[in-house]
Symmetry: C2
Subunit: 343 residues, 2 copies
Amino acid sequence: MNLKELSAILGLSQTTVSRALNDYPEVNEATRQRVKAVARKNNYRPNTRAKGLATGRTLTIGHVIPVSTRHEIVNPIFADFIAGAGEIYSRNDYDMLLSVVADVDEERVYRELASRRSVDGVIVHGPRENDPRIALLQEVGLPFVVHGRAGTGDSGYSWVDVNNRRAFERATNFLLDLGHRRVALINGVETMHFANRRRAGFVTALENRGLRPDPALMRSEEMTEYFGFRAAHEMLSGPTPPSAFLISSMITAIGVRRAIGDLGLKLGRDVSAIIHDDELSYLRNGEEVPIFTATRSSVRHAGQLCAEMLLDIIRHPGQPPAQKLLEADLTVGMSTGPAATPD
Amino acid sequence: MNLKELSAILGLSQTTVSRALNDYPEVNEATRQRVKAVARKNNYRPNTRAKGLATGRTLTIGHVIPVSTRHEIVNPIFADFIAGAGEIYSRNDYDMLLSVVADVDEERVYRELASRRSVDGVIVHGPRENDPRIALLQEVGLPFVVHGRAGTGDSGYSWVDVNNRRAFERATNFLLDLGHRRVALINGVETMHFANRRRAGFVTALENRGLRPDPALMRSEEMTEYFGFRAAHEMLSGPTPPSAFLISSMITAIGVRRAIGDLGLKLGRDVSAIIHDDELSYLRNGEEVPIFTATRSSVRHAGQLCAEMLLDIIRHPGQPPAQKLLEADLTVGMSTGPAATPD
DNA sequence: GAATCAATCCAAAGCGCTTTGGGTACTGAA
DNA sequence: TTCAGTACCCAAAGCGCTTTGGATTGATTC
């Protein structure tokens, strides 16, 4: 069922039918109702591609999901982010085009999205330090919003980010206030800008108390469960183990907890831990009382904000870039307690 | 840069340029090379929508991701499945269109995908018992592959599934062989067909040994960490606790392990557990030695298989439906041991 | 030398929609 | 009665591509 057939049924021109369906004023209200009724009855829906060709807009947003080539890992926060963004898209009759791409191919894919005109805009995931994708997108003139920041020229493009630096500074201070002096940082890969900022917050807090960050207590890798396990196990088995951990993700923290348990220690008593909690839907941080003390910021909500911002940019071009910095809550759970041997 | 401009530059007709780029035989090899070189230099790429309109194919596959309305949960296996499928798509120059949709709206979305002709085919996720989507897709004539099965008329459509029944029967037998008699099942929602089959395998194994499944030891809910924690905590605190668990997912198992730890018990010694491991990239089941004894089947691989099957169906229509039943490995890890008090 | 054929290329139609630039009929005012 | 104005509708162009149905050329065959 296409427009031609539908207008034949109605005995009207394609023009009128199209205008009736798209709520243009130059069509009689009675005929509009009739058109809509018949369209519904015949289950008519305009062909996406034809509409896109004619209007120049695709009503589609692109997401490029990088998959680490070295470790073949899909970022676990991605599902919830997508869920948040997808909600906004369907509410606004937009579609989402997903490209799962080896991180080395990313640039090519962005270029293709632009030159093939298959999307009206894109969300940039996982920005790295000085991420080249930003200049690239500006060059090709494709509207975009970055989930996170790249660390330079951040006022020149639109983004939604968590105040990672402050969150980790506060979390570190919280541990220091409990008397912990040997605090370990189990961080994400620090070519990612967010991980960089988290470390900066951690280091700042230590230095403000006159403590020197110990390189042996700082690890940075892809945030898997096993990384958390291995890092914590090694540190805790070392000569001067940490009494507290600052951990960049819930998944990694699960590995840390496993290591603590395997060594016969108890989380929250023998060892403290604060995590960053993205509020993943399938990995809630407990129910009544949080399992982990955490800096908390919903990645799903971030997805919604990114999508809304991008749609706004697409609908009102020529505006200055928008930015949104979210503050993370610091919620106290059962994974922290006073240091065993205060100075 | 579009075809018209490109052919103007080349001094050729659009026909010839189009044919040169699409490797049609009726164009001189020398001109083909020249066309391709100039196209590359000018960064030309055909407009997706125009191409789709002209050919009638979209080179796009739809995925409809249901989000549970009641619990707002995104299935955690989805990211890895998508990664597997996406790999195949990009290798074949296909795009992936994602709709994140409240489960109650699913039918509408499938209908729209079909009538708006925005995809060449779809993957059906999370089939429920007698899932109505299958009849719907057959009715509207949209090619599809189901990840899983619906439990009836399974020979009438294409699917890729794990032999869940056998996997859970084998896992149960493994526990029974170790002397366990009170085995608990912590399952996914049993309106999902896969969960149903897993329970069937579990029950069959028990009954073959003359044991009666105890309803108090069978739980079925959305597979979150907290569900695992709560279920295990309650069962283990009860009057006749289980000595072993059969757990439908890694995430839930993490909750079970937390409950076991909180109760001062040790996994693999005091309590045994076998999980089903989807080999999620960010939640590997250990490295050298598996953390959990597990029935194992890569969901990422399933994603690849579904995508390949669907592309094949699209390219060779009229074939009988294809099916692929994957057998899960049973790998022994550190979470199982003999029952403490054999009969 | 004429006819046949393969190799190359092209003009134009068509995919299904939106939108431009009128047309027609009816109204009320002059 | 005429004219401008409005409300409503339509034919046709155009979005950027593929594909049909030739046209042209040069080589080959008889």
